[in-house]
C-alpha cells in the first residue's frame, strides 16, 4: 500500500485515493478529423511502461482533487507528484 503525498492534503494512505490511469492524454481537439485508428489510440491505447509511468490519481476520499504522479512501475517508488496543468517533470527511476 502506497503512501501518497497529496499536493493539497499531504501524505495519506493509498486507500484514500483512486488511480485513474495514464496522465497527459489530451482529448483530441477535433475528433472528427481523426481516423478510426487515431481515435482508438486516444480511447484505448496506453503506454503501460515498465519504468517511469505518468499517471493520474484522485484523492477521492479526501479533497477530491485530481493530480499527477510519476511512479516507477518496477519499484513502485513515487518519483514526483505535481498538480493538474503542471508540466511533466524530468524524473529518473
Amino acid at each position: 500500500m502506497f503512501l501518497i503525498d497529496c499536493p493539497w492534503c499531504g501524505p495519506r494512505q493509498q486507500t484514500e485515493f483512486h488511480c485513474q490511469g495514464e496522465a497527459h492524454i489530451a482529448r483530441p481537439k477535433d475528433p472528427d478529423a481523426l481516423s478510426d485508428e487515431e481515435w482508438a489510440n486516444y480511447v484505448f491505447n496506453r503506454t503501460n511502461p515498465k519504468g517511469v509511468h505518468f499517471e493520474r490519481w484522485v484523492h477521492n476520499h479526501g479533497c477530491r482533487r485530481w493530480f499527477n504522479v510519476a511512479r516507477d512501475t518496477v519499484t513502485d517508488r513515487i518519483l514526483a507528484i505535481y498538480r493538474m496543468g503542471e508540466k511533466r517533470p524530468k524524473v529518473k527511476s
Binding site: 495519506r12 484514500e16 476520499h61 479526501g62 477530491r64 482533487r65
Partner: protein, 192 residues
C-alpha cells in the same frame, strides 16, 4: 392538515443510544447548519466576501478550521469549504454568503441535511477511531482545530478535532450514519 404547520424534523440517529462517558462518549449533534462553499481561494474578493458574510475568511491552509463565534469554516479542498453554523443558522448564512459573493463565480449549496455529526469524545476516543481510520491522529499530527476528509470504517467522513480530551466531530452522510454509529459503539466496547 400538515399543510401550514412546520413539518417535523427527524435526525437519523435520534433513537440511537451510545456509550455515554468513560472512556468514550457518543452523541449526535443533529441538524448543524452546513453550507458547501466553493470559490477561488486565490481571489481576495472571494475571501473578503466570505469574511464579511461569515465573520471569518475561509482557511486557505489545508486541513484547518477557521472559527468566528459559533461559525466554523472547515477546509475541504483547495476551492471547497464547509461552513458550519448552529442548527437553524444555515438559511441566514446562505443568504448572507449569496449577497456578499454576488457576481462572483462561486457555489453556495445548503447541505445541512446531507450529513449529520457524531461527536465522539473521551480518553479512548482516539483509539476507538484509529482502529479503522487511515489518518494519523497523533496529537503531533492532528490536533484540535484541524479537520480532514478521510475514511472511517469504509465510510467517508469529515473529521474535525474539537478538543484535546480528545473529542472529534465526525461529519457523515446521513445514509451511512447508523452504520457508523453502530460501528463506533462496537469499537468502543473493548474499552468499556
Amino acid at each position: 392538515m400538515a399543510k401550514s404547520t412546520q413539518a417535523a424534523a427527524h435526525s437519523p440517529l435520534a433513537n440511537r443510544i451510545g456509550p455515554d462517558g468513560n472512556p468514550v462518549a457518543l452523541t449526535e449533534r443533529a441538524h448543524l447548519g452546513k453550507i458547501n462553499l466553493r470559490g477561488d481561494a486565490g481571489d481576495k474578493a472571494f475571501l473578503d466576501g466570505v469574511a464579511r458574510a461569515a465573520g471569518v475568511a475561509p482557511p486557505v491552509k489545508a486541513n484547518t478550521v477557521a472559527t468566528a463565534g459559533t461559525t466554523a469554516i472547515l477546509w475541504l479542498g483547495p476551492d471547497e469549504w464547509l461552513v458550519v453554523t448552529p442548527a437553524g443558522g444555515q438559511g441566514a448564512m446562505e443568504s448572507s454568503l449569496t449577497t456578499a459573493l454576488a457576481g462572483q463565480h462561486v457555489s453556495i449549496v445548503d447541505v445541512t441535511d446531507a450529513r449529520t455529526t457524531i461527536r465522539i469524545s473521551g480518553p479512548r476516543a482516539r483509539d476507538t477511531v484509529a482502529k479503522a481510520c487511515p489518518l494519523d491522529l497523533h496529537p503531533r499530527e492532528f490536533a484540535a482545530g484541524q479537520c480532514a476528509q478521510t475514511l472511517l470504517a469504509k465510510t467517508d467522513v469529515l473529521i474535525h478535532q474539537v478538543g484535546d480530551t480528545p473529542a472529534y466531530d465526525l461529519y457523515v452522510l446521513c445514509s451511512f450514519s447508523r452504520y457508523l454509529w453502530d460501528w463506533l459503539a462496537d469499537s468502543a466496547k473493548e474499552f468499556a
